[in-house]
């Protein structure tokens, strides 16, 4: 494992690199107190190393060009070295690790060069740097509902078709979610609100619709207190739409809107209509907002139960909390870990939890772009919309089965079943046995099939429009499955040797791809990437099995990965990858946590990922355990109120 992670500096290879430190955490993690002690010890060690070895290292080898005076290439350690745990300098340290590892820095011409041992100390220290981060759940800034959540919420509230939001711009979900609002979007929210009202409410003068009667009740008769009645309606509408009880002040606002309409001569139901519209364009509806006031004296607070209910429900269902979640929030019980875990289990077992695949799973596997990816239509005429849908559904159903049956994460790699319909069966060569349009569970006898590594939709996504790309497939496995980070090729890739075109024409793709591994610049990464891709060359660009590639040459799927792990076929490659359970677990934990928090992970989050992955491992790497670990985690259940976390000072 370390051979690989040294080769490929990475987000999570940093975690893997910190072997000594994380092991001490793992063994101490029996109880919270022990875990705290382990963390404190790791922190003390990292601080000591920083003072005694890292600061002198920077002063001796880096400062001349990247210090207070000179900031060559815009790079300076001036501040970073004073604030070693601050997450804002993490990219700088990561870059430094890459340069120190590859001996790109200090430059060759510099007389003073660190020894190999000094370099290693530096690398290890950066790997353990997360231990310098103060305990911090990160911010949970009021979050706007994304397009999908907004549509589903309107559906749950009013029974309208969630596609009512079709015209809104698509958004990146999860870690890259742009929690932003623009005038255009606000205009669209008003348009959608109008559209919703015209669908569910009767026009002025017409008898009320059933939904209307249910929401608004009967108009008060003469002598009844109209405002009191309207206030009751406001209270019940706002409770659902705001996903928490509205404060008296918030009800006052809605009543002002009601009065606005009655003052203009509107009848009771018409005035309530305007009030409902006001609800639908209010920040309390469009955003997940906390109930009650914040305690300005505190830096970190637990999420309120209503906020937690929303966070959980939008994560697993992409819609508003249902009656049971809401009742638990009202009772102030949801934050209790047992209840929270039990609710997570309940939500996962509901069909609405397909949202977790559509939002998280599809993004993780790269299938969210399958419907629109360009393929060479002449070469792959079978890649119809129906086939693309079946490919997506296959992955979704596998994901769903692993969640629902609470299987081990390894099932993603080494399972012997999948879900096919007649269209997709043709890609598998199983068109004789599987026919029709319904997706059904199919047991494989061929061990080369089964799992995400060999799934047609995924293989298609990492291919070029007209052929496979062993390099892309290798990168995909390393990054998406094992959580390593593969640096992009340098912009100025040295030109490959001019090859005899006739000779090249008769070579297989593998033989041609291997040519660039003669170049040392390319070889350092490609000797890891390419074998994985070659091991999958038996699958063409849309996932069909083949013995020969387009040159007519026989596929050679044999290869070797660092650590003398040899394989000769996709099934053997799968077995090797499946052996890296801990890496897959770390990777998925980190990804799901980032998705759940709607932000990139940094600083203290890395410690959290270690702890969660550890807990998941202890429970047989089971999928529900992973989800529950994330939703009961410290950063999911807490939030920081200030913009910046406290920065610890090196002594």
């Amino acid at each position: 494992m370390n051979a690989r992670s040294h080769m490929l500096p990475a987000r999570f290879s940093l975690l893997m690199g910190g072997v000594v430190l994380s092991l001490s955490v793992a063994s101490a993690a029996e109880s919270d107190a022990d875990a705290g002690a382990g963390l404190a010890a790791a922190r003390a060690t990292a601080m000591k190393t920083h003072k005694e070895q890292i600061t002198p290292f920077i002063t001796t080898y880096c400062d001349r060009c990247h210090g207070e005076k000179k900031k060559k290439g815009g790079v300076t350690f001036e501040y970073a070295v004073k604030h070693p745990g601050a997450s804002s300098f993490r990219p700088l340290w990561r870059q430094a690790v890459a340069n120190i590892k590859t001996h790109d820095m200090p430059p060759e011409k510099e007389a003073k060069q660190p020894s190999e041992q000094e370099r290693q100390v530096f690398l290890d220290w950066v790997a353990g740097m997360k231990h310098l981060s103060p305990k911090d759940p990160g911010p949970f800034v009021i979050r706007r509902l994304n397009k999908i959540e907004y549509g589903n919420t309107l559906h749950d509230l009013f029974g309208v078709d969630p596609r009512i939001v079709t015209e809104l711009p698509d958004e990146v979900l999860g870690a890259g979610y742009l929690n932003s609002l623009s005038p255009l979007l606000m205009e669209q929210y008003l348009m959608v609100a109008n559209e919703v009202l015209s669908r569910i409410l009767a026009p002025a003068g017409a008898p009320p619709t059933a939904v209307q009667k249910q929401m608004f009740g009967a108009a008060p008769t003469v002598g009844q207190d109209v405002k009191a009645a309207a206030r009751e309606v406001a209270k019940s509408l706002a409770r659902r739409a705001y996903r928490r009880p509205a404060s008296e002040a918030e009800l006052d606002v809605l009543l002002r809107v009601f009065a606005l309409a009655t003052d203009a001569g509107k009848k009771y139901h018409e005035a309530l209509r305007l009030m409902l519209k006001a609800i639908l364009v209010s920040p309390q509806f469009l955003f997940i907002t906390p109930a009650g006031d914040v305690d300005a004296k505190r830096d970190i607070v637990p999420l309120g139960d209503h906020q937690l209910a929303s966070r959980l429900s939008y994560l697993l269902w992409a819609t508003m909390p249902d009656a049971e979640l809401s009742a638990l929030a009202d009772a102030g019980k949801l934050h209790e870990p047992e209840i929270l875990a039990q609710q997570a289990r309940r939500l996962l077992s509901d069909p609405r939890s397909r949202a977790l695949f559509d939002g998280f799973g599809a993004q993780w596997l790269g299938l969210d772009k399958l419907a629109t990816k360009t393929f060479d239509a002449a070469k792959f005429p079978q890649l119809t919309p129906a086939l693309r849908t079946a490919m997506y559904e296959e992955a979704r159903l596998l994901f769903d089965s692993i969640v629902r049956e609470n299987r081990s994460l390894m099932t993603f790699i080494d399972c012997d079943y999948s879900f096919l319909d007649g269209t997709l069966a043709a890609i598998y060569g199983l068109q004789e046995t599987v026919t029709g349009t319904a997706m059904r569970r199919v047991q494989f006898t061929d061990a080369n099939r089964g799992g995400i590594l060999t799934m047609p939709g995924i293989l298609a996504m990492s291919s070029f429009p007209n052929r496979t790309s062993p390099v892309n497939r290798g990168v995909w496995v390393l990054e998406q499955v094992l959580g390593e980070h593969v640096p992009p090729p340098p912009a100025d890739v040295p030109t490959l040797e001019k090859q005899d075109q006739k000779k090249v024409a008769s070579m297989t793709l593998r033989q041609r791809t291997e040519l660039h591994r003669n170049d040392p610049t390319c070889a350092s990464c490609h000797k890891v990437l390419d074998p994985i891709g070659f091991g999958l060359e038996n699958f063409d660009a849309i996932g069909r099995w083949r013995e020969h590639d387009e040159s007519g040459g026989a596929i050679d799927a044999a290869g070797e990965l660092p650590g003398a792990q040899r394989f000769t076929s996709p099934k053997e490659l799968k077995r090797i990858i499946a052996g890296r359970t801990a890496d897959l677990c770390s990777n998925l934990t980190g990804r799901l946590l980032a998705y759940a928090l709607c932000r990139q992970l940094e600083g203290y989050d890395e410690i959290v990922v270690d702890q969660l992955a550890d807990a998941v491992a202890k429970d047989g790497y089971r999928m529900q355990t992973l989800v529950i670990a994330v939703v009961t985690s410290y950063p999911f259940t807490h939030r920081r109120l200030t913009d910046q976390p406290g920065i610890p000072h090196a002594k």
């Binding site: 290439g73 804002s88 890259g176 609002l181 623009s182 109008n194 990139q600």
Partner: protein, 465 residues
């Protein structure tokens, strides 16, 4: 004296700064153009983007002296009939991207109109600078039904984060504030509806929930909601407050927009009754826009260009930004090959790839040329619509093969109401991206209270006068 009327507005803007939103207009309501302004058509500002740079030797003209007479370089060929209205500027450098050297594609688009590098200490969040188009929209936006138009060909959902930079940098070029990217519209039908809902409201557009068909009480309702939001803001933490400010700003814009539409309708009614000012500046019939059914990129891009022309022609907005293509996974099957744009730009001088990139470049310029020619054919005042426009086409990289940013490719079309000297190739502008944006905004009469990004000067060699 052109644009003198802007002085009045500048006076009222003093102390606020053009780079800020105009809260003042809340109380002013609809901004009135001063008397006499209608006699001079307004200057419109348009931007159109293509990623990954160009094949340099097929883009730059060979000689300034023969710019109008020699056959244009391959990539500029489609502009041949309108070269006299164009200004090709070489020597504009991009923002130096160190220490974010590993993020050339996240930065090519996001620095294009900001001329600013994102905050490297907060790179996982969006923190850059207001973009030139939004500075312009803040200034002239209050005069039209839409402050600005933001269009794109691809959804802005790319998920790569180079150098730990937020994903949004990859697909957004307009920023309303340093932390607020402006999403672009990609559905021509929605754009059309949004532009013309105020006009077509009598034809049952209300059913689709158009803003203009909204309740006459909407604006007052929004006012009350805004008041409630301010109360909510007061009891939130400061991170939440900043987020809610985006909401407050957006609702205020929406109120303004509704007011603008109502105002237009009132004007139109007055005009129909034979009195009152005529706000429309065009002398020609509205161009036809046919929305294509298929997924042919050229047709799609043309309709977006048509919509821009239409919006400018009808004075529905004076600022437009069109991200014609984005730096990821885009291919051009109608050119006869399915290779992705980016993969071909790392061509290492392989002629097959170089040819493909040049054809993609020419294709993008051709869509721009289509828009320019259309503008040149529309009469306005004593000249054409194009005469009163400043249309900038360009890329945030010079050479996609090596990610260089020394001579960014730019074509400027239109005379900017007589402020730009066109029909020329300037081979040695010696300026940067900020200088260029600053110069163009100056030509459009937008006063600036601070330089745009890295700008240090105005490029007087571009302007007349």
């Amino acid at each position: 004296m052109r644009n003198d009327w802007l002085i009045d507005r500048r006076t009222c803007l003093r102390g606020i700064g053009a780079a800020l939103a105009l809260p003042l207009l809340d109380s002013m309501g609809w901004a009135e153009e001063p008397a006499g302004a209608a006699s001079k058509p307004p200057v419109r500002l348009g931007f159109m983007y293509m990623p990954h740079g160009v094949i340099m030797e097929r883009f730059w003209p060979s000689d300034p002296a023969t710019f109008l007479t020699a056959p244009p370089p391959q990539i500029l060929e489609s502009l041949r009939p309108v070269l006299g209205q164009c200004l090709v500027v070489k020597g504009i450098s991009g923002v130096p991207i160190a220490p974010l050297n590993g993020a050339p594609h996240a930065l090519e688009l996001s620095t294009w109109l900001t001329a600013t590098l994102p905050d490297t200490d907060k790179r996982s969040r969006v923190n850059i600078a207001i973009s030139a188009d939004q500075i312009a929209a803040n200034y002239v936006g209050a005069l039209t039904a839409l402050p600005s138009l933001e269009l794109a060909t691809m959804p802005q959902t790319h998920k790569e984060n180079q150098e730990g930079l937020h994903e949004a940098y990859y697909s957004h070029c307009s920023y309303r504030s340093p932390t607020q990217p402006v999403p672009a519209e990609i559905n021509p039908r929605s754009v059309f509806k949004r532009l013309f809902q105020s006009r077509e409201q009598n034809q049952g557009a209300g059913k689709s929930g158009a803003v203009a068909a909204a309740d006459p009480l909407d604006r007052s309702m929004l006012d009350v909601v805004l008041g409630g939001a301010r109360e909510l803001r007061a009891r939130l933490g400061n991170g939440d407050q900043h987020k809610l400010d985006e909401y407050l700003d957006s609702v205020r814009s929406l109120e303004r927009r509704i007011f603008a539409i109502e105002h237009r309708q009132a004007d139109a009614a007055k005009a129909a009754a034979g009195g009152g000012p005529k706000r429309s500046v065009t002398d020609t019939a509205r161009i036809e826009v046919a929305i294509p059914e298929g997924d042919k990129r050229s047709e799609y891009m043309k309709v977006m260009c048509d919509l821009t022309v239409l919006a400018f022609q009808s004075d529905l907005t004076r600022v437009s930004t069109y991200i014609g293509s984005t730096p990821n996974g885009v291919s051009y099957p109608e050119l006869g090959f399915t290779d992705e744009h980016h993969s071909q730009t790392h061509h290492n001088n392989e002629i097959v790839k170089v040819d493909k990139v040049a054809r993609i470049n020419a294709f993008n310029v051709a869509q721009f040329a289509y828009m320019i020619k259309k503008m040149a054919a529309l009469k306005e005042g004593d000249g054409t619509l194009l005469d009163n426009c400043i249309m900038m086409w360009g890329s945030g990289l010079e050479n996609g093969n090596k990610h260089t940013r020394v001579n960014l490719p730019f074509v400027i079309a239109g005379k900017g109401g007589g402020t730009l000297k066109t029909g020329r190739y300037i081979p040695d502008a010696k300026g940067n991206q900020g200088d260029l944006l600053q110069t163009l905004l100056g030509c459009a009469g937008i006063p600036l209270d601070r330089p745009i990004g890295i700008a240090t000067k105005t490029l007087t060699e571009m302007t007349s006068g």
